[in-house]
Structure formats: C-alpha cells, structure tokens
C-alpha cells in the first residue's frame, strides 16, 4: 500500500508567487517569510515523497460562477498554470498522478461522494504557491500531483463535516492503493483574512491560533 508520510498546512496567497517571480525572495519584506519555510522545505527533501495531494480552492480562475463544483478532483496527465490575468506564470507544468487519482475518484463515489472529475484542467496559485514553497522552482517537479478543489467561492459551500469525511476517504484511497508511493498531503488556504469591504486586510490572529491549536490537538469533529 502507499504511505502517508505527512500532512502540511500552508497559505497559498498569490503575492508569494509574485514575490518569487520578481526575485524578492531575500528582500527585507519577504525574507522573514521565506526563511520560515526553510525547515519545511528541508523536511520535504528528506521525506522524498512521490505524490503530493494538494487540497485547495480555485479563485475564479479555473471555474466561473456558471458551474461550481462542490468538490472537483483532477485525473489529468498534466496541469498547466492558468492565466489569472497577468498571463500564465513561467513555472513548470505539474504532472498528474493519473492512476492513483482515478483510484481516489473510484473510492469517493463508492463512499457516496459525487465529485466533478476533471481530465483537462488548469491550476491557479492555490496549487502553484504551496508547491513552490516546499519544492522551490525546479524545471521538473519531483512529485506527481493529485489536485482536489473545494468550493469556497459561492454558497452553498461544503460543511466542515463533509470535508472531514472526504479526508477519511482520501486516507482509505491511499492505504488501499497497491503501489508503494510515498504521499504527502498539502492542505492549503488562508486562515482569517479579508479581501472585501472596509475590513480588507483584517486578520484575527487570536482566532487563527485557537483554530490551529484545535485542529492539531483535537481534530475529530464533535458529533452533532
């Protein structure tokens, strides 16, 4: 069976990628941020994963409001960076973990999930930035990917319970996969942050820390 070697949570804000594009890695504003990722990057090198499962949300780049999947799963051979308005970024395309991805889709449906299954699709910064933070800017990524999109843009959005349940199916899929791949899971997205309105940029650090402590110490959801 394949093996889960770890799970990592990270931000994926696009300005991180833009900073790398502009060569600002070691600038005064950005250096403390990127230095904070060095330990994780090193861990990743030593852990030698074969597959990265990247769970993220699209930001109105790949999906529009005309068709909004609650959960979408990629089974593509290749995922190119999508044009987010500035033109596609000059980073390597991502190779899909095709067979394993289909296996996950099979498991999901077997367990009564109804995902959108994507054979041809591009990925935005939600997947790109976490990959860059942990694998740098290689000409070829050292892992194949399984992208999972979670709707966060248009109501109704999936309940936390449903996301939890999908995670248990993901574990089942990995543990029942006959290959011996090493799988790392990247859970990506923001903690508190606000883009719209007069509180744009507002961050609630106390709530963020409480949430992180909660999911680390007591992740099992409380039964209703």
């Amino acid at each position: 069976m394949a093996e889960i070697i770890g799970g990592i949570g990270t931000s994926h804000v696009p300005s991180i990628g833009a900073a790398l594009d502009k060569g600002l890695r070691d600038s005064a504003d950005w250096k403390p941020f990127f230095d904070g990722y060095e330990a994780g990057k090193q861990w990743m090198v030593e852990a030698e994963p074969d597959i990265a499962v990247v769970i993220f949300n699209d930001h109105g780049n790949t999906f529009f409001l005309d068709k909004v999947p609650t959960f979408a799963v990629g089974v593509a051979e290749t995922y190119n960076p999508v044009d987010e308005g500035w033109g596609p970024r000059a980073i390597a395309p991502f190779e899909g973990a095709v067979d394993f991805s289909w296996h996950f889709v099979d498991k999901l449906v077997e367990r009564h999930f109804d995902p959108l299954v994507c054979r041809e699709i591009e990925v935005d910064h939600g997947l790109q930035v976490p990959m860059e933070l942990f694998f740098g800017r290689p000409d070829r990524w050292p892992v194949r990917v399984l992208p999972i999109w979670v709707n966060t843009i248009q109501y109704p959005i999936p309940t936390p319970q449903r996301c939890w349940d999908m995670g248990t199916v993901l574990r089942e899929a990995i543990e029942s996969w006959p290959g011996n791949e090493r799988v790392v899971i990247l859970g990506t997205g923001g903690l508190s942050h606000q883009l719209q309105g007069a509180r744009a940029g507002f961050i609630n650090q106390a709530a963020d820390r409480a949430w992180l402590d909660g999911i680390a110490a007591n992740p099992e959801p409380i039964a209703p």
Binding site: H59, G60, N61, L65, D83, G85, Q194, L195, A198
Partner: protein
Amino acid sequence: MPEQHFIPDTPLFDRAGSIRGYKINKMAMALGQPQNREAFKADEEAYLDRFGLAPEEKAAVMSRDWHEMVRLGGNLFFILKIAAVDPTPITQIGAAQASMSHDDFLYERLGKKRNG
C-alpha cells in the same frame, strides 16, 4: 447559507450578491484571456457593453471604484483581473476599501515593519 448575514464592514458574497454580480464578474472573468484584455484596453466601454453591464456597473468599473464594484456584487477574485490589466496592486485596492493611505494599509493591516 449562513443565517447571520451581517458582519460589520463586510459585504458578504452571499446568494443575492452572487446573483446580482453575475454580469460584472463574468466580464472580469473573461479578462483571463489575452484577446479580451486587448479589447478592454482598446475600448473599455465597448468591452463592458458586450457583457450587458448596467450604467452604474459600467461607471463603477470605469472609475475603478472597488468599493462600489463590490457593493454591486463584484467579487474580488474576479475583479482583480481588472486590476491585473491596469495594473493596480491588490494592496491599493485593500487600502481604497479601508479608506486608508496605501502606506498606512501596509503598516496597519498587513504588518509591514516601519523603518525596516
């Protein structure tokens, strides 16, 4: 849908907003394609007319009134593509919505360190 719709100073992208803002967001989404960016730059009003925007929506876009675009149902994820064409930094949009100077926004909201 959340039952509590009111959060101070926070225009929620709720169902009414999503329905109301459909055209403005569709127009902005299309700017993900280079030929549409060219059309937008060449004749902004004609480009907006292609998507059937109402006069108040057109006015909000053409004056880059981000607050008003959001009030009309614009979602930052989409309307940022307008900013990409200009280009306007996202921090500038944040500052405009917060009614702060760009510098104050960077320091007070984003934790930029003064003098360093």
